[in-house]
Amino acid sequence: MKKRLKNNSYTFILFGVLTLLTVVMAAASPYFFSWKNFRNILNQSAIYLVLSIGMTLVICAGQIDLSVGAVIGFSGMSMGMLLKAGVPAQAAVILGLLIAALAGFLNGWIVAYGRINSFIVTLSTMTILRGIILVLTNAKSVFGFGPVFGFIGSGRVGPVNMPIIISVIMAAIGSVLLHKTKFGNYCLFTGSNEVALNRSGVNVKKYKVLVFTFCGLCAGIAGMIVTARLNSAEPLAGQGYEMDAIAATILGGTSMRGGKGSIIGTVAACFILNVMKNGLTLLSISTHYQEILTGLILLVSVLISESSQRRKSEV
């Protein structure tokens, strides 16, 4: 039990920081501490959370996916165009998610079988996908999708918004996948020691393709939420979101080198970043300062986790 505490100490720190941040914000702004505002934060976090779940698995496997922001735009635009063409909402959603998963599959396939660094592969696919969106739409938005699709973005089940429900489900799925399954174990091992995994007779390439496919699917779900919430598919939707997902994942304690990470850490980090954004907005502090602060937090957290890892490996 004691060791378990030690292993998860970073996650406890994250939740401590989250609590502290909540208390400070509640003291600073009278609007902060209300169900309505919390629901707002959860709703805002949902997109980043879903995206960060996929990113966490990819980074655990020692890879990176820079294309998730473009996949948000691509899957959102696919759904938007399908809906505009008269395809029923359910079918449009399924097709849009399949397209996102296919984009992830291609990323993984090129990384695994082309043996190319994932940074370069996904940087290329990011640019290609964004380019395709711009060509297809002539850089114009597609909007007005009707209530069934809109429900995903702004509908509520009881007092809870749909995006919140979706993000909770995805976090649960991600947590089980990473921590309980063979798939998650092999993801972590790919990041930890790919050579050993290969020698043990495990098809590493297959698992690389799978983890990128899952990440693509997560980006597709995020794209679905973004598009449904705005009731509009924007050509530049999701631009730069990959950086938020990477920031949340690394702040959450996942090692950039792979082999180590947790979903609960990513969830906590996601909330820290969004509570901060929300609180600072309530305090009418410019978003420009928020950017600076986000960067600083990320830098400090990486310094802490890297130095603790270095200490460990030196013993």
């Binding site: 972590l188 020698r199 495990v202 460990k312």
Partner: protein
């Protein structure tokens, strides 16, 4: 498992193995035997053919001619998969473990206990403890991260994985290179213990004092040939050095 098995027929036998790489004749008719319950040391200078022989045994390379006999069954060549199935396992020095993963995960790598894709972690922990106990490898906590283990413990986990997968011939290539004194001692103890439990152990080493310390027999290779198989007790270090360098060939 602790009883010393007496095996008369060799566990592993090679007969007249030839292997060349283009013009270079790496092996020129190598015949060696390895028995269960003993440590066989293969010594020789660089380029004597030790590594080539080991690669052929583990199925990484295919011989040009010759026969590999495992428990009396003959093979013209082995693939890595076939070698593993027959029980030949090579203990890689440092690339075997995932440092960020725990002992149990490392031990069961590639043969996890899972139901419908869900890992049975509790069962894996229990079996890992049992397996390590049977092999007399001391690791206090199987949930410990492999990166925190000592070099000796790490080799222990690597060996336990191979044994779990059915390994019966364990090949160590320079097992204590780049290791501290205490750690080497632990690895050497592990090697002797494995032999006493009935495994056939082959050790490749440049470290002659170490070879004399752990081996039951010494096989001296020179220029692609086995020039002598010696019983460790009946020889001296000077004699072996003379054979390795070519100062004396056969006596």
């Amino acid at each position: 498992m602790n009883t010393k098995e007496v095996v008369i027929t060799p566990f592993l036998e090679t007969e007249d193995i030839y292997k060349s790489f283009n013009q270079v004749k790496a092996l020129k008719g190598v015949s060696v035997n390895a028995f269960g319950g003993e440590v066989l040391a293969i010594v020789g200078d660089n380029g004597a053919g030790k590594s080539t022989l080991i690669k052929i045994l583990s199925g990484v390379l295919q011989p040009d001619s010759g026969i590999i006999r495992i428990e009396g069954k003959e093979y013209k060549r082995l693939t890595p998969k076939k070698a593993a199935e027959t029980g030949i396992s090579t203990v890689y020095q440092d690339l075997a473990l995932g440092n960020t993963m725990n002992v149990a995960a490392n031990l069961f790598l590639g043969s996890e206990i899972a139901k419908g894709g869900i890992l049975q972690k509790k069962k894996m922990r229990e079996e890992a403890e049992e397996l390590l106990k049977n092999l007399d490898i001391h690791i206090p906590d199987v949930t410990e991260t492999a990166g925190n283990l000592s070099g000796g413990q790490r080799q222990g986990v690597a060996v336990a994985r191979l044994v779990h997968k059915g390994g019966r011939i364990l090949i160590f290539d320079e097992p204590t290179a780049a290791m501290g004194l205490n750690e080497s001692a632990a690895v050497l103890k592990l090697i002797k213990r494995l032999a006493s439990q009935g495994f056939a152990v082959i050790v490749i080493s440049h470290n002659l004092p170490q070879v004399f310390h752990i081996s039951d027999r010494i096989c001296v290779m020179r220029q692609g040939k086995v020039i002598k198989e010696l019983v460790t007790e009946d020889t001296t270090m000077d004699e072996v050095v003379a054979m390795i360098t070519g100062a004396s060939t056969t006596s």
